[in-house]
């Protein structure tokens, strides 16, 4: 039995999570769920960063992850505020109903 | 493998001991609170079950276990069931990194009086406590009841808001101790009361201690910040729809959180298990004296009993107190019992503060609650952290 995990497994996991995030982004219609799918993608990327950091025995990847988190926090604050505003104005969270720019 | 086995074995034993003590404490904390509030209000409090109501917690547990477990038909079932589980498990999880005492030697085994030490222990506790909010928020939402929902919303907003000044207040003593490990945090405060973080350092952390305590009251949803369960507005807040053991879980979670924050305050500001003054000045005799005085008091009241039953029970208590006082003098147990005493005494004092406040203060209005943290606590905590960090940087150079 192996007692060490190949690095490629982590990266594959990251790819799977990222693909699931993309899937959520593409297949779902609720703005909040779509937004959460974006967070899922960010998390998947973070996992890659931390894995690379381990591979190179270097702390930079952690820092990138840290910054991604900060950006995600800022993004969540603004994004949710926008969602609140949209909901106030249209009483819907369906992403396909928010299309007044199209016409 | 021998070592690994013994490591797991010891950890399991420690976990069992901690769990047993903790659950007992949780049960009896309820009794203590009722007693304290009763005495503040000049009532006797629970009195019927056992001497001075000492068996009341046992009765309560039996009652809660045997009551009908209602499952309202309109709730979101998985989340409704998950919520109390989340609340209690997150509350208990943080106990695992709290050190109760120094390294001790029990027979052939040398171990710390702590389940495990993380070098990010403080962050761990913050992380776990921030997860605790899910229990309450989900309970409120899953109940499908407007009072419960409002309670859940209130609590999540309140807990996010008060987490900020709390974290900032925690950061200040961490700067002085220069570690995130709870164990090392206590070690850095060794050497008497003037080395405790509340009084020590380039900038005594009195302000951050006060901020931490205020935030702790809010984080545990205690009076005067118990808006999520304000009974005159929201029936019972987020746990309106809960009954039986699930209700008990929320109840236990609240008390476990109280213990955790009290222990945190002790570790961060009050020197953990360290005695306030050196052994040379008789620090080791303090528990003996206290228990001896308690024994004398019990015997006196037994002799002049107000009620008939006291004539029998109080002398028994007096004798027990004397025995405990004696035990504290035994050198074999002194090494681990004394730190435990100091830790319990400090934590207990803070827990007493919780009860005292509950018996004394009225409740905040909701907008005042939010305004207080964002407009007052947060800036003050920020300023305190700034001053502390400047002074720390200045004195270490």
């Amino acid at each position: 039995m192996m007692n060490a995990v190949p690095i490629s497994w982590f990266l594959t996991l990251s790819a799977i999570l990222f693909a699931l995030g993309v899937a959520g982004f593409l297949f779902r219609r609720n703005i909040i769920t779509v937004f959460m799918s974006i967070e899922l993608m960010l998390n998947a990327v973070n996992l890659s960063f931390v894995t690379f950091s381990y591979q190179h025995k270097e702390v930079s990847g952690h820092l990138f992850t840290f910054f991604v988190m900060v950006v995600a926090a800022a993004e969540a604050a603004v994004g949710l505020a926008i969602i609140l505003t949209v909901f106030k104005g249209r009483s819907t969270l369906n992403i396909d109903d928010v299309n007044s720019m199209k016409h | 493998m021998e070592l690994l086995d013994s490591f797991i074995f010891i950890t399991l034993i420690k976990a069992a001991v901690v769990l047993a003590v903790l659950l007992t404490t949780l049960a009896y904390l309820q009794w203590v609170e009722r007693k304290v509030i009763a005495h503040v209000q000049v009532r006797p409090g629970p009195y019927r079950v056992g001497p001075h109501g000492l068996l009341q917690p046992v009765a309560d547990i039996i009652k809660l276990l045997t009551k009908e477990d209602l499952l309202p038909p309109y709730v979101n079932k998985p989340l409704y069931l998950l919520a109390p589980f989340l609340a209690i498990s997150m509350a208990l999880l943080s106990i695992s990194v709290i050190p109760f005492g120094p390294m001790i030697k029990v027979g052939p085994v040398i171990t710390w009086m702590q389940l495990t030490d993380l070098n990010i222990g403080v962050l761990f506790i913050l992380a776990v406590s921030s997860m605790g909010v899910y229990g309450i928020a989900l309970a409120g939402w899953a109940s499908n009841n407007k009072y419960a929902l409002i309670g859940g919303l209130r609590s999540s907003a309140q807990m996010i808001s008060y987490e900020l000044p709390m974290s900032l207040a925690i950061a200040a003593p961490l700067l002085i101790s220069n570690t995130l490990s709870l164990r090392e945090l206590v070690m850095s405060q060794a050497g008497g009361i003037f080395h405790w973080n509340i009084l020590h350092g380039p900038f005594p952390q009195v302000i951050s201690f006060i901020i931490f305590m205020i935030a702790a009251f809010a984080e545990t949803n205690r009076v005067p910040f118990d808006l999520p369960e304000a009974e005159n507005e929201l029936v019972a807040g987020f746990h309106t729809e809960y009954s039986s053991m699930k209700f008990a879980s929320f109840f236990m979670a609240e008390y476990a959180n109280m213990i955790t924050v009290s222990a945190m305050a002790t570790l961060l500001f009050l020197g953990g298990w360290m005695a306030p003054w050196p052994v040379a000045w008789g620090a080791n005799l303090v528990p003996t004296v206290i228990f001896a005085v308690a024994g004398v008091t019990a015997l006196y009241h037994g002799a002049n009993a107000a009620r008939k039953r006291d004539k029998r029970t109080l002398p028994v208590f007096g004798i027990i107190f004397f025995i405990i006082a004696g035990v504290f003098l035994l050198p074999i147990v002194q090494s681990w019992l004394l730190p435990l005493f100091w830790f319990a005494a400090k934590t207990g004092a803070i827990l007493f503060l919780f009860m005292w406040v509950r018996a004394t203060l009225p409740r905040f209005r909701y907008d005042q609650l939010m305004g207080f943290t964002w407009k007052f606590l947060f800036p003050v905590a920020m300023l305190n952290l700034l001053v502390t960090s400047f002074l720390v940087a200045w004195t270490t150079k």
């Binding site: 690095i7 490629s8 693909a19 699931l20 967070e39 381990y54 604050a77 | 899910y134 929902l149």
Partner: protein
């Protein structure tokens, strides 16, 4: 031991991630996402990223996701309706191809079998190391981040406040 831990939490993460996508109710998705984040935190610990693991739980699970849950509860958003287009037909095959190629390249070319992760193999991810890097090499990005946060706060306040009559 490491392999078992990895497998447990990887499976939890993937299952939760699938749950994020397939659940129709946003709050279920949000809680599943919390699950993904929690398992990722454990994997971070396995990779020696203690600080990031703690930050993951505190920031992501404890703050950002609470905000999501809070907003979902505030809007009292119901389950998703079937209105509008889904991109299942063009997207799903593309995704499968994408994932397959990625996994194939990673396994076959980019990371040979010899590179492995052992718990404790890297200990440079503690708070001290992060702090050192943050306040020396990455000081400017760090400061810029604070501006970003300030802007986000102001933006959120302006967006979400009530209209002033």
């Amino acid at each position: 031991m490491d392999v078992i831990l990895f497998l447990i939490f990887a499976v939890v993460a993937v299952v939760c991630a699938i749950n994020v996508v397939v659940q129709t109710h946003p709050i279920s998705s949000a809680l599943s996402l919390v699950g993904v984040m929690g398992s990722l935190a454990v994997l971070y610990l396995l990779l020696g990223a203690e600080f990031i693991a703690a930050a993951q739980v505190i920031v992501y699970a404890g703050a950002i996701m609470v905000l999501f849950v809070f907003v979902i509860m505030l809007l009292n958003a119901g389950a998703e309706t079937k209105k509008g287009r889904s991109y299942l037909i063009p997207g799903a095959p593309l995704l499968i191809v994408f994932l397959g190629l990625m996994a194939y390249y990673v396994q076959r070319y980019l990371f040979p079998e010899s590179a492995v992760v052992r718990f404790g193999g890297f200990t440079g991810g503690g708070p001290k190391d992060i702090g050192n890097a943050l306040f020396t090499t990455y000081l400017l990005p760090f400061e810029v981040t604070s501006i970003l946060i300030l802007v986000a706060i102001i933006g959120a306040v302006v967006l979400a406040r009530k209209e002033i009559e």
